[in-house]
């Protein structure tokens, strides 16, 4: 086979809240080592879609398959055990613990040692935690309390934590939100590099189109709950429907959009 088998297959995902169809019949797939961006204007259903993939939310209909196994309706922790790492739009870390301890907790969980009550946690997988921190460039911060970190560093820490279970798939919800422009570029470069080296599939949502077009292999465009476009950055960039949807989001590629301003 010339094409790698699909890591993630999403079929006909649908979710409504009351009478509002947040997501309607979304289907796509993702290969190992591929970086896929999910974009769309505010309210397009990105977050709902994302939450259904990571188990935060259950779809009304449709299925999510990870390596052939149905993950629909599974809890976030069960999905993590199947090899999915994730980062949050607003970082979620263990603020009272040190940077190293944050990673160690993930390693303890991965090693199924959570109910080990007599072992020594400070020495647990210290080397592995250090390697993960080095990988994301946080090696020098290992003993810092997590609560003292700058936001960009928290994002990198989240990445290290997400990599602790040697994931096959990374789900990143707006990975660069709230970061300085320079930090955004660095973080996504790092993510892309790790993903390619380890052949990890990455699905991310993002508002910063520079980040999207620079790093995504493929882009999915969501509007009002349905996929309106899918393809390489170049294809999506040239898609008139996408351009119409995106006007007003600060993305102006050519002057044609002026006409569709009311859309």
């Amino acid at each position: 086979m010339s094409v790698a088998p699909s890591l993630l297959v999403v079929e006909g995902l649908t979710k409504s809240y009351g009478g509002i169809h947040a997501v309607r019949g979304v289907s796509f797939s993702l290969r190992a080592g591929e970086i896929l961006a999910l974009i769309g204007p505010n309210g397009a259903g990105k977050s709902t879609c994302f939450d259904m993939l990571n188990g935060q939310n259950r779809p009304d209909t449709g299925h999510v398959r990870l390596l052939g196994e149905d993950t629909t309706g599974k809890k976030p922790r069960e999905i993590w055990r199947m090899g999915v790492g994730r980062t949050f739009q607003i970082t979620a870390t263990f603020a009272t613990m040190t940077v190293r301890e944050n990673v160690q907790v993930a390693l303890i969980s991965h090693g199924k040692q959570l109910f080990n009550i007599w072992g020594s946690a400070p020495n647990f997988a210290r080397g592995e935690a250090g390697r993960l921190l080095e990988l994301v460039g946080m090696g020098g911060y290992a003993d810092r309390p997590c609560g003292e970190l700058a936001y960009g560093d928290l994002k990198r820490l989240e990445l290290a934590v997400a990599l602790a279970n040697q994931p096959k798939l990374l789900l990143m919800d707006e990975p660069t939100a709230g970061m300085a422009p320079r930090e955004r570029v660095d973080l996504m470069r790092l993510t892309a590099q790790i993903a390619r080296e380890k052949s990890i599939g990455v699905l991310f949502t993002e508002h910063d189109m520079d980040v999207v077009f620079e790093h995504a292999d493929r882009i999915l465009v969501l509007n009002r709950g349905t996929l309106i476009a899918e393809g390489s950055p170049a294809e999506v960039r040239g898609n008139p429907q996408v351009q119409a949807v995106y006007l007003g989001e600060g993305l102006v590629y050519d002057s044609r959009h002026r006409e569709g301003a009311s859309a």
């Binding site: 990571n54 809890k75 976030p76 922790r77 993590w80 055990r81 994730r86 949050f88 607003i90 970082t91 979620a92 870390t93 263990f94 603020a95 009272t96 613990m97 040190t98 301890e101 160690q104 907790v105 993930a106 303890i108 969980s109 991965h110 040692q113 959570l114 109910f115 080990n116 009550i117 007599w118 072992g119 020594s120 946690a121 400070p122 647990f124 003993d143 309390p145 609560g147 003292e148 700058a150 936001y151 928290l154 934590v161 602790a164 279970n165």
Partner: protein, 637 residues
């Protein structure tokens, strides 16, 4: 349909109506609590105290003012007077702690409750006061041979009327709109230029008014006494847990439900009627964890996180110092008399109790407000084994705590389904249920008379031997829990405390971790209780009472909730102070309550926390702005 309504049927109807009448006061108090919580996010533990003051003030006024107008005027005037007290409390105390962690707010208002209990006895005396009958509602209505007090019928009507008035108040007035808006998002309301201070004060006044009215309206039905605050607050907590905190309709429905369950529970389980309420509460919590009419709460504010030094195991020098302290403590029998040794044993036992709760609170972030339940269950476990099964002491000490373990396993399972203030209220309610069982089930527990004659065997009977036993167990327990803190389990538990969201996202089963911690903590408390039974030679319902639960909380807080082993220091200081205080004054609750309020307001880090901070400052390794940086990130969750 049978045509002749037999007496049993009528009896059930009357029982039902009695339940409805009891629901009125319960609803008034619960709705007040709900309204205050909705806007200020404070669970006002002192609500029961305001209810009680309402009853006392109304009693005094109705005794002075005669006639129909005098009576009803007194009831309303009492509610207004107490609301005024509420305003003062809000302005002087609560305004200082609106931004403190929930635990501190609960504790401060509890401290207030303690103070009120002593003040009430000081002013009105310790005896029950029987108030006047309500003019116009003195008689009874005959219902197929059964009597229904007409005052009950008045209360049955009053409940829905108050509900209607509150509804109009919230739907039709500008103030009501502001309150509803603030309940949804108080920051937004503040941003819109509403005077927050005035809004909070007025809401608190209304809530307290309702509580006091509830108390005042009870005087024709029930004697006024100085323990009525705790009884009502536990019932109110049960009501708001079932109905959903913040919902007035929920408060009404749940008040009716709980009152009816109480009314009929007595018929079904005469000895342990409270079981029925518990069962219903358990079902509601499983089906709808946020109550019948409640909504899921936003994640609780982080209890620690004022500033946190990363925890680390003791260095070898510190270990030596701790060992030295233990050795010095062990030499006490060489120079101290029997009384001092008994006090020493009691302090050692309270160290066990304190570190058990400290583990749950500091590591797990779960503030149990009913931890005495597991302490007391351990004590009762020993008493049952020793008195009924006649087992040797060492076996009793090993097996007795298992009763605490089982209690913690059952109640903990439900408690960890909730978090924050709900967790606190639920654990308190559970403890009160255990207390009621111990109190009511006389044939097994001896009721109020307790179980006597639980004396240690010869090898541990002398004060010095018992002291060494207690000290040794305390040291063992403290070390074991420290090991647990720095075990993989301890790390995982801290992770669930810091961020449940992140924990679940890295495969941690948060509830199971918390449940395990709860069982560990409850079992440890049970060990303390087991020793306590032998120390006192007897077991009483008070061994699982609320005041003991609060002792535990204060010890933890005094030691410092952000520390690894602050509970040890907290227990030693608090217990020594407490024993001394009780010997010095009759108003120990007043002093203790004031002390709690003081800790919360001016001393929130506790002793060990303060020492650590001073040490940190001297080293000054971390920049002073660090804690400020940490805050927005934490609250962003």
């Amino acid at each position: 349909m049978q045509l002749q309504p037999g007496p049993p049927m009528a009896f059930y109807v009357v029982q039902f109506l009695t339940g409805l009448a009891s629901a009125a006061s319960l609803f008034l108090v619960a709705s007040g609590l709900s309204i205050i919580f909705g806007v200020t996010r404070i669970v006002n533990f002192a609500h029961g105290a305001f209810y009680m003051i309402g009853a006392y003030v109304a009693f005094t006024l109705t005794e002075r003012l005669s006639g129909t107008f005098g009576f009803w005027g007194s009831i309303v005037a009492a509610a207004f007077a107490v609301a005024l007290i509420g305003v003062i409390v809000e302005m002087v105390l609560l305004r200082r702690i609106y931004h403190a962690p929930e635990l501190f707010q609960l504790l401060a208002t509890f401290g207030l409750t303690l103070m009120v209990e002593d003040l009430v006895v000081l002013i009105w005396g310790p005896d029950d006061l029987v108030g006047r009958r309500a003019p116009g509602f003195k008689g009874a209505v005959d219902f197929f041979g059964q009597n229904i007090p007409s005052y009950d019928l008045f209360l049955i009507v009053l409940g829905p009327v108050v509900l209607g008035i509150l509804w109009l108040l919230f739907q039709r007035t500008r103030w009501g709109v502001l309150v509803r808006a603030a309940t949804q998002d108080r920051d937004m309301v503040a941003a819109l230029g509403v005077n927050q201070k005035w809004l909070f004060t007025s809401v608190f006044a209304v809530g307290v008014f309702l509580a006091a009215l509830g108390g005042a309206l009870q005087i024709p039905r029930d004697a006024v006494h100085h323990a009525m605050d705790l009884r009502i607050i536990v019932e109110v907590f049960v009501v708001v847990v079932i109905g959903g905190l913040g919902s007035i309709i929920g408060a009404f429905v749940a008040a009716v439900l709980v009152s009816e369950l109480n009314a009929f529970g007595i018929l079904i389980f005469p000895k342990i009627s409270i079981i029925l309420v518990f069962l219903v509460m358990a079902v509601v919590l499983i089906v709808r964890p946020w109550g019948l009419f409640g909504r899921p709460e936003a994640p609780a504010r982080k209890t620690p996180g004022l500033t946190v030094n990363p925890w680390r195991p003791l260095t070898s020098n510190e270990r030596l110092a701790a060992l030295a302290a233990l050795v010095i403590a062990a030499t006490l029998p060489l120079f101290a008399g029997n009384y001092a040794l008994t006090v020493g044993s009691e302090i050692a036992i309270f160290v066990i109790f304190a570190v058990s709760l400290h583990f749950l609170m500091a590591v797990g972030g779960l503030a149990s407000f009913g931890h005495a339940a597991y302490f007391g269950l351990g004590a009762y476990g020993v008493a049952f084994l020793a008195k009924m099964a006649g087992l040797p002491m060492i076996v009793c000490l090993l097996l007795g705590p298992l009763l605490g373990c089982m209690g913690a396993a059952v109640f903990g399972f439900f408690a960890v389904q909730l978090s924050g203030v709900y967790f606190a209220m639920l654990t308190l309610a559970f403890a009160q249920i255990v207390w009621s069982i111990a109190f009511q089930w006389v044939s097994v527990t001896g009721g109020d008379n307790g179980i006597l004659g639980v004396w240690p065997e010869k090898w541990a009977a002398s004060p010095s031997h018992f002291y060494w036993l207690a000290l040794g167990v305390a040291a063992l327990v403290t070390v074991a829990l420290r090991v647990a803190v720095f075990s993989p389990f301890g790390y995982g538990l801290r992770a669930t405390r810091d961020s449940a969201l992140r924990s679940e996202a890295i495969g941690v089963n948060v509830k199971r971790m918390q449940w395990t911690a709860f069982v560990i903590s409850g079992t440890t408390a049970g060990i303390g209780g087991a020793l306590f039974a032998y120390l006192k030679g007897s077991v009483f319902p008070d061994n699982l009472g609320i005041s003991l639960s609060v002792d535990a909380l204060v010890m933890v807080l005094l030691g410092g909730v952000e520390t690894v082993s602050g509970g040890v220091i907290g227990a030693i200081v608090y217990k020594a102070l407490n024993i001394w205080l009780v010997s010095q004054t009759d108003l120990s609750k007043l002093v203790l309550g004031g002390f709690i309020v003081l800790i919360v307001v001016v001393f929130p880090k506790g002793i060990v926390g303060m020492l650590e901070m001073l040490a940190q400052r001297r080293k000054s390794t971390s920049p002073p702005g660090a804690s400020l940086l940490a805050k927005p990130i934490e609250s962003a969750e």
